[in-house]
C-alpha cells in the first residue's frame, strides 16, 4: 500500500506539469488585458505611456518563454507570485478564502452523507413502496433544483419570515462557532441538497445490487440478523461506488460553487476564481487551477485508499 501511495504521488508530477502548461497557454490565448481593465475600465483617460509602463511592471511585456520559465520555476519553489490585480501574494489571496470554502465543502459533505445514507438504504430496502417513491421524488428534486436557486429561496425566506440574514463577513469557527455556523449552515444546506440527491440514488442502486449477491443469501441462511446483514455486509460493499461519488463531488466544491457563493456573498474560492478569470489575472488564475488539480488528484487518491480499506480484496501493490 505504501508503495502504491508513493507511486501515485509521483504520478501527480507529470499530471500537474501538463495542467500547468495547458493553463498557461490557454490564458495567453484568450482575449483581454488586465492593464486596460485596471486603468481604463472605469472610463478614465489614461495615456498609452501609463498603460505600457504598467504592463512592463507586471511583466506582461516579457517574452512568452521567459514568462513560462518564471511560472514553472515559481511552481517548483512554491512561489506562486503576486496577483496582477491586487498585487498581494497569490498564496495570501487563496489562503483568505480557503478556510471558508473547505468548511462549506466539509459541512455540505457531512450533511449529504447524513441525509443520503439512511435515505438511500431505506429506499433500497423498501423498494417500490410509497416510502421509496417519496424518497426518489426528494432526490429528483435535488437533482433538478439548482443549488444557487435554492440558496436564493433560503435567503428570501429568512428575510421575509424572520427579517434576518446570516452574517455578511466570515468568522472562523475557532473564533466564534455560533456566528460561523449561522453564516455557513445555509449555503451548506443549499449545496447539500443536490449533493445528497446524487449520493442517495447511488447508495440506493448499490444496495439493491448488493442485496442480490450470494453472500447476502448465505448470511441470511446462517441466521444473521437482518440489521447486521445490512450494516456489516450490504452497506460496506455498497459504499464503494458511493465513495467515488463522494470524492468527486467534494473536489468539485473546491472552487465550483461560484453562483452559490455570490448568492450568499461568501468570500470563497469560486468567487475568487471567476474574478481572476474576468480580470485576466494570469498569476491568480494559474494558481487556482493548480490548486483545484491538486485537490482532484489527492481526493482520488484518498478515495482509492478508502476503497482498499473497505474492501480487503483490493490490495494495491500486492503481488
Amino acid at each position: 500500500m505504501a508503495r502504491y501511495i508513493l507511486k501515485r504521488i509521483l504520478y501527480m508530477i507529470p499530471t500537474l506539469i501538463g495542467v500547468a502548461v495547458i493553463v498557461f497557454l490557454m490564458l495567453r490565448v484568450v482575449p483581454g488585458d488586465i492593464v486596460e481593465l485596471k486603468l481604463r475600465g472605469d472610463g478614465a483617460a489614461v495615456s498609452q505611456e501609463t498603460i505600457e509602463a504598467e504592463r512592463t511592471r507586471l511583466g506582461l511585456n516579457k517574452p512568452m518563454l521567459e514568462q513560462f520559465t518564471d511560472w514553472m520555476i515559481g511552481l517548483v519553489t512554491l512561489d506562486l507570485g503576486k496577483s496582477m490585480w491586487t498585487e498581494k501574494p497569490v498564496v495570501d489571496e487563496i489562503a483568505v478564502r480557503f478556510g471558508l470554502t473547505i468548511q462549506v465543502a466539509i459541512m455540505a459533505t457531512i450533511l449529504a452523507v447524513l441525509i443520503a445514507l439512511p435515505l438511500g438504504t431505506i429506499s433500497a430496502l423498501y423498494k417500490d413502496t410509497l416510502l421509496d417513491h417519496a424518497i426518489r421524488i426528494f432526490t429528483i428534486g435535488g437533482l433538478a433544483v439548482p443549488s444557487f436557486w435554492l440558496g436564493m429561496i433560503i435567503i428570501l425566506a429568512l428575510l421575509y419570515y424572520f427579517q434576518w440574514l446570516p452574517p455578511v463577513t466570515y468568522t472562523p469557527i475557532y473564533v466564534d462557532p455560533l456566528t460561523n455556523i449561522s453564516q455557513l449552515i445555509w449555503p451548506a444546506l443549499a449545496v447539500a441538497y443536490r449533493y445528497s440527491a446524487v449520493l442517495t440514488r447511488m447508495v440506493r442502486s448499490s444496495i439493491i445490487e448488493v442485496m442480490l449477491e450470494d453472500y447476502i443469501r448465505t448470511a441470511r441462511a446462517k441466521g444473521v440478523f437482518e440489521r447486521v446483514v445490512i450494516a456489516r455486509h450490504a452497506l460496506r460493499n455498497a459504499m464503494l461506488p458511493a465513495i467515488t461519488v463522494l470524492g468527486l463531488e467534494f473536489a468539485f466544491l473546491i472552487g465550483g460553487l461560484v453562483v452559490t457563493e455570490q448568492v450568499f456573498n461568501l468570500n470563497g474560492l469560486g468567487r475568487l476564481f471567476v474574478q481572476a478569470v474576468s480580470f485576466n489575472d494570469f498569476t491568480l488564475t494559474q494558481a487556482i487551477v493548480m490548486l483545484i488539480a491538486v485537490v482532484f488528484i489527492v481526493t482520488n487518491l484518498v478515495v482509492d485508499i478508502l476503497y482498499a480499506l473497505l474492501d480487503p480484496r483490493i490490495r494495491y501493490g500486492a503481488k
Binding site: 486596460e36 475600465g41 491586487t86 489571496e93 483568505v96 428570501l156 474576468s278 485576466n280
Partner: protein, 528 residues
C-alpha cells in the same frame, strides 16, 4: 377653552421643534457598514480609475481641496486653509492648515504635498499615475515654507485648480515615499478622518476614527466597514436585512422600488444627475463609418427624448444632453441642444434626413454589428433600444455583447464597427471632460480613432483662454463640431439614485460617485 389651546399648541410646537432639532444634531458614535460592489485593485489613489479604489480609501486621505457638496461645484479647502490663483492663471499658491497629523503622528508639511504631486506627475519606474496627463501643465512645485506650496504652470490653465480637488489626488507622506515609493499601493497611511484598521481581501475593509484629525469634532462615526458584494441582488437583500446600511454608488429604479416597498420610511433615497454617460462610438477607420453622412444618419435616427422616457423607469439612463453634463454649469441649454443633429424633437423629420443621407452615401441596405458589453444595466437595454431605432430607417444591426475584457480588447484592436462606450467624468470643466473627443494621436482613449484638428484647436482654446465668455464660445463650437461630425456622440446621461438607511445622516449627494466618500460628516441617528 380657546385660551388654553394656544399655550398648549405653543408648548407642543416647542416640544416638536426641540425634538426635530435634537434629531438633526449629529450624534457621535457608531460603525457604518456599507456595501461596495467592486474590490479595489490597489490602495493607491491614482493607481486605478475604478471607483472601487476611492470608495475604499477616501476616508483615509485628504486632498488639498475638496468639492463643496453643499455648494456644488464650488471648491473648498481640505488640507489647504486658503489658496490664491494668480491673474494670469499660471501660479497657484496654497496655505496649509498647520499641525495636520498623519495617522502615524508625523506632521504634514508642504514637502509632503510636493513629494505627492511629483510622484503623480512623474511616477518613478514601476508606478502608475492616472492623473499624470492632467498635471502636465505643472512646471515646478515650490515649498517656500512648511505650510506653503506654490505650483507654477507652464502656460495659463484656468481649470487646473480643479485637479487639486479630484479624489484621486490624495496626499501621501514624503517620508514614507522616500522609504518605499510603492507604499501607497499596499499600505494606507494618510491624514484623513479615519485610520486603517483591517482588510480581508474579498471580504471587507474597515477603518476607525482618527483621534488626531485636524478638524476638531470630526468624524462623528467611531468607524466604518466597507463590505464587498459581487451581486447587486445580494446588496439589495443585505440592505433590507440590515446587514449593511446602504451602498454609495447607485441602485437602479427597479431596485429602488424593491427597497421602498420593503423598508418604507427606514430607507432614504438621494438622487442626482450623474456625470456619467454612454457614447455611441463609430470606428472611423472602417468603411462606411469613415463617411460622415453614414455616422450622422445613424445619429439622427435615435429618438433620445423618447428613449429617455422609455429607459428611465428601468435603467440608470435618463437625461438627454450634449457633451457636458445636463443641468451642469457647462450644459448647453435645451433651446440650443435641439438644434444639433440627433437632439431635435422632430424625430420623423430627423429619420427622413437620415434615410436621405444613407441613400446619398450609397448605404441604403446598411448592415453592421453593434459591439457592447454584456452588462445587464444599462448596456443591454441601450443596445436593444438603438437597434430598434436604426430599424426604423431600414438599417439591420446585430447585437454583439461580450465580457468587459473582450470588449476592451476589440476596442483597442480597432476591429469593431460601432460600439457603445462608457465615459465617466469626475470634474465639470470641459478641459477635464472632453479629452475623449480629441484626435486619436493626442488622446488614445478616443477609440473612434478620428483625427480632427479643428476639435483639437477648440480644445486648446478652452484650455488656455481665461475669459469665461470666450471659453464658453469655444465649448459651444466644440460641441457643435463634435456632434455634427459624429465620431462619437452621447446617447443618454445616467441618473444616480443612492439608497441609504434613514439612520445615516450627514452624507451629501453629488453628480460624481467619487465625491463625498470620506465620510467625514456622516453620522448615525439613534435607532428608534
Amino acid at each position: 377653552m380657546t385660551y388654553l389651546r394656544y399655550p398648549l399648541g405653543a408648548v407642543l410646537a416647542a416640544v416638536v421643534a426641540t425634538g426635530a432639532l435634537a434629531e438633526e444634531k449629529p450624534v457621535r458614535g457608531g460603525i457604518l457598514e456599507y456595501a461596495v460592489k467592486s474590490e479595489a485593485p490597489t490602495f493607491d489613489c491614482a493607481g486605478s480609475a475604478t471607483y472601487a479604489v476611492m470608495h475604499a480609501v477616501s476616508p483615509f486621505y485628504s486632498m488639498l481641496l475638496k468639492v463643496d457638496l453643499e455648494n456644488y461645484p464650488n471648491l473648498k479647502g481640505d488640507l489647504a486653509k486658503s489658496w490664491t490663483v494668480s491673474d494670469d492663471f499660471k501660479t497657484i499658491t496654497f496655505e496649509l492648515h498647520p499641525n495636520v497629523k498623519f495617522h502615524d503622528g508625523s506632521i504634514l508639511t508642504s514637502e509632503d504635498v510636493k513629494a505627492t504631486f511629483e510622484r503623480y506627475r512623474n511616477p518613478p519606474q514601476g508606478q502608475t499615475s492616472i492623473i499624470k496627463a492632467a498635471l502636465e501643465d505643472i512646471d515646478t512645485i515650490e515649498t517656500p515654507s512648511p505650510t506653503t506650496v506654490v505650483f507654477k504652470l507652464k502656460a495659463p490653465n484656468k481649470a487646473m485648480i480643479q485637479i487639486f480637488a479630484i479624489p484621486n489626488a490624495c496626499i501621501y507622506s514624503a517620508k514614507k515615499l522616500n522609504e518605499d515609493p510603492n507604499y501607497p499601493r499596499q499600505t494606507i497611511m494618510g491624514t484623513g478622518p479615519f485610520k486603517f484598521k483591517e482588510e480581508v481581501k474579498g471580504s471587507h475593509l474597515s477603518g476607525e476614527r482618527f483621534e488626531g484629525y485636524f478638524r476638531e469634532g470630526l468624524p462623528y462615526l467611531d468607524g466604518f466597514r466597507a463590505v464587498l458584494f459581487t451581486q447587486s441582488a445580494a446588496v439589495i437583500n443585505a440592505i433590507q436585512g440590515g446587514q449593511v446600511m446602504g451602498e454609495f454608488r447607485a441602485v437602479t429604479p427597479s431596485e429602488r422600488k424593491t427597497l421602498e416597498a420593503a423598508m418604507g420610511d427606514k430607507i432614504k433615497f438621494y438622487e442626482s444627475d450623474w456625470s456619467t454617460l454612454l457614447l455611441l462610438m463609430f470606428n472611423t477607420e472602417k468603411p462606411p463609418f469613415n463617411d460622415v453622412r453614414v455616422r450622422r444618419a445613424l445619429n439622427l435616427a435615435i429618438d433620445r427624448w423618447g428613449g429617455s422616457k422609455g429607459l428611465a423607469p428601468t435603467t440608470l439612463l435618463r437625461n438627454v444632453g450634449g457633451l457636458s453634463r445636463p443641468n451642469g454649469p457647462f450644459a448647453t441649454p435645451e433651446s440650443e441642444l435641439v438644434k444639433l443633429p440627433g437632439f431635435g424633437k422632430d424625430i420623423k423629420a430627423a429619420r427622413e434626413e437620415a434615410k436621405r443621407l444613407l441613400k446619398e452615401a450609397g448605404q441604403e441596405n446598411l448592415k453592421f454589428t453593434l459591439h457592447n458589453r454584456n452588462i445587464a444595466s444599462p448596456y443591454t437595454p441601450t443596445g436593444v433600444y438603438l437597434i430598434d431605432q436604426w430599424k426604423q430607417i431600414g438599417v439591420e444591426v446585430t447585437h454583439s455583447q461580450v465580457e468587459t475584457k473582450a470588449y476592451i480588447e476589440t476596442m483597442n484592436a480597432g476591429t469593431y464597427d460601432v460600439a457603445i462606450e462608457f465615459n465617466n467624468n469626475v470634474l465639470e470643466d470641459p478641459v477635464h471632460t472632453l479629452l475623449q473627443y480629441l484626435s486619436y494621436d493626442k488622446s488614445p482613449v478616443n477609440k473612434s480613432r478620428a483625427i480632427d484638428r479643428e476639435l483639437d484647436g477648440l480644445f486648446e482654446t478652452m484650455l488656455r483662454e481665461i475669459d469665461d465668455n470666450k471659453r464658453r464660445e469655444a465649448l459651444l463650437a466644440f460641441e457643435k463640431r463634435a456632434i455634427e461630425q459624429a465620431y462619437q456622440v452621447p446617447i443618454l446621461w445616467w441618473y444616480r439614485i443612492v439608497a441609504l438607511n434613514s439612520r445615516v445622516k450627514g452624507w451629501h449627494m453629488s453628480p460624481s460617485h467619487l465625491f463625498g466618500q470620506d465620510l467625514e460628516t456622516v453620522w448615525l441617528a439613534p435607532e428608534k
